[in-house]
């Protein structure tokens, strides 16, 4: 019994150290964002603000107009999620349940695309968007995120568990494929579509390189681009930068905490070999 107690103490000590390491930077970010200017660089160091202040947040949303970026990020992530769910749900279901020639080969081909780094497509994609007049627009940022191999894969894995009998019964009742999809399949796919929407929202929100390339007008910047731009000028205003980081991170962290179950399910489903 004694040994069990000691190993339990060690185990939880290790867990707590690791948790402190994981959460420490996030907690310090929040604390420093509430400190009066200069206090995060005080010696000896302070962990908590002497007199918590929202001045930096007011600065960000007033003078520095970060509210625009918050709005852009929200619009962009919402639009991409909605459209990605529609496109990937249709395709994922087709790969899982509709029989057609070359299905397996086409699916393998799609999976092979996963090893192609996104950077490879970026230069020609930029030129293509320029031809289409989509450079420096949110639509240009959305376009490449609409359909994703990972999203199709996720929906397919989940849809495989839909019994064929159910679909065949609906066909015998004379329902068309579209009807079957809307009234039989979609309700069954609901959990994985929540997962997919969440994944897409977070990925779009957090994305940096592509919006950095496409957007040139700071009124259209997303939060990460605006924050990186801000850090170029205000890198020494630690408290202000931490407030900017909080504004950028808080919405996605809150969303994750609220829908954690769906997110983790997606991580696990995504790691199952097809």
């Amino acid at each position: 019994m004694r040994r069990v107690r000691w190993s339990s103490v060690l185990l939880h000590a290790a867990l707590l150290v690791l948790a402190a390491a994981a959460l420490g930077p996030l907690l310090w970010m929040v604390s420093a964002s509430l400190m009066p200017a200069g206090e995060a660089s005080a010696l000896p160091p302070r962990l908590l603000p002497s007199a918590p202040t929202l001045a930096h947040y007011r600065d960000l949303f007033g003078r520095l107009r970060l509210g625009r970026a918050l709005l852009n990020s929200t619009l962009l992530a919402t639009a991409t999620s909605v459209l990605a769910v529609v496109l990937n749900a249709l395709a994922g279901y087709a790969f899982a349940k509709l029989r057609f020639r070359g299905r397996a080969r086409l699916f393998r081909l799609l999976l092979a695309l996963l090893v192609v780094p996104a950077q490879v497509a970026m230069l020609p994609l930029f030129l293509l968007l320029k031809q289409l007049g989509l450079v420096n627009t949110l639509a240009g940022v959305v376009a490449p995120g609409l359909a994703s191999v990972f999203g199709i894969f996720l929906v397919r894995q989940y849809a495989l568990s839909i019994p064929d009998d159910l679909l065949d019964a609906a066909r015998l009742d004379g329902a068309g494929e579209w009807r079957i999809f809307v009234s039989v399949v979609l309700p069954l796919l609901r959990p994985i579509l929540v997962t997919l929407a969440l994944f897409t929202f977070l990925a779009t929100w957090n994305d940096f390189m592509w919006p950095l390339i496409v957007l040139s007008d700071d009124a259209r910047y997303t939060l990460p681009v605006a924050l990186a731009n801000l850090s170029g000028e205000h890198v020494l205003d630690t408290e202000l930068m931490m407030a900017g980081a909080v504004v950028t991170v808080a919405p996605v962290l809150a969303l994750f905490l609220a829908l954690q179950r769906y997110y983790l399910q997606g991580v696990m489903l995504g790691s199952v070999k097809g």
Binding site: A19, M29, A32, P144, E177, M242
Partner: protein, 301 residues
């Protein structure tokens, strides 16, 4: 009956292509086509004038590649990228496995809390975390320096010293990503039947032996998956050096392939040479993936 079947399957196939069309067309236009064009672009001298009028681009054959392979800065970027991936990959996977074993231990209380805590950095915006870690690393005022000093260790100019700048970015990446891999490992661990441990225990295997002879081999497929995913991700590293060490860092010690491609392509508008960097990055990713799969495949067999 068979007539109805063929009718049914033809109807089904038509529906399938209609359902697939929006996603496949999007992937074709916004991904596959650009990827193919990247190869074409890499054989041209596409520059700012060609951005205005593509007619100005000329075919230069392999010149961009030849120029790159002669350029020390390119090799520096490639070295940094590989270093980042091969330091960060094992570190991330090791941390993740440790965290998974701790979270999954039968004695552990508060599993959900710890899992959420370890996962929080994964969903946090990378750029914001790079901004935070930039402050954490500050040579005089950064909390990491204070922590090291409290432990009696020397202060380090993490981001300003060419010896430490890249490892500093690796630490941030491992911190940010290990929670994702941990969740995959936990799923793998839970897939190992309890009877195997029971049998090993009856055979007198101690905890470490059970770990070596039961846990590790049965996690083989999981290792292979997380290894490939982590390495592919790390080989594309961009935001960390872009935000934390401007201009490629001290002595270009944090200049990565993606960063070099971005600078050439979107700052200098030398899209031809930049495309050659992208293609070479692709080749590296492909080679590392195949190597990793072969190594893991050999081990598992």
């Amino acid at each position: 009956m068979s007539g109805r079947d063929t009718f049914g399957s033809r109807r089904e196939a038509r529906a399938a292509w209609a359902f697939l069309a929006p996603a496949l067309l999007t992937l074709l236009v916004f991904f596959l086509l650009p990827v193919l064009l990247a190869f074409v672009l890499s054989f041209t001298d596409f520059d700012l004038y060609a951005v205005g009028d593509p007619g100005n681009a000329r075919w230069v054959g392999l010149r961009n590649y030849a120029d790159l392979l002669r350029e020390p800065l390119f090799w520096r970027a490639l070295r940094n990228t590989l270093l980042f991936a091969f330091l960060g990959g094992p570190l991330t996977v090791a941390l993740a496995l440790g965290a998974a074993l701790l979270v999954n231990a039968p004695l552990t209380r508060g599993r959900r809390f710890f899992r959420t805590a370890f996962f929080a950095p994964v969903v946090a915006t990378l750029v914001a975390m790079a901004v935070v870690w930039h402050a954490l690393y500050h040579p005089r005022f950064g909390p990491i320096g204070h922590l090291l000093a409290a432990l009696g260790l020397p202060r380090v100019d993490w981001l300003g010293d060419p010896r430490f700048a890249l490892p500093a970015l690796v630490l941030l990446a491992a911190w940010k990503n290990f929670g994702y891999t941990m969740v995959v490992f936990v799923a793998g661990l839970q897939g190992i039947p309890e009877e195997l441990y029971e049998a090993a225990r009856i055979d007198g295997a101690r905890a470490l032996q059970r770990f070596r002879h039961v846990t590790l081999p049965l996690l083989g497929p999981t290792f292979s998956f997380v290894g490939v995913v982590t390495l592919i991700g790390y080989l594309q590293v961009f935001a960390e050096p872009y935000v934390m060490t401007p201009e490629g860092g001290p002595l270009k010690s944090t200049l990565t392939a993606s960063l070099l491609m971005y600078e050439r392509g979107f700052r200098w508008w030398s899209l031809g040479p930049a495309a050659a960097i992208a293609v070479l990055l692709f080749v590296v990713v492909l080679a590392v993936t195949l190597l990793q799969l072969r190594l893991q495949g050999g081990e598992g067999a």
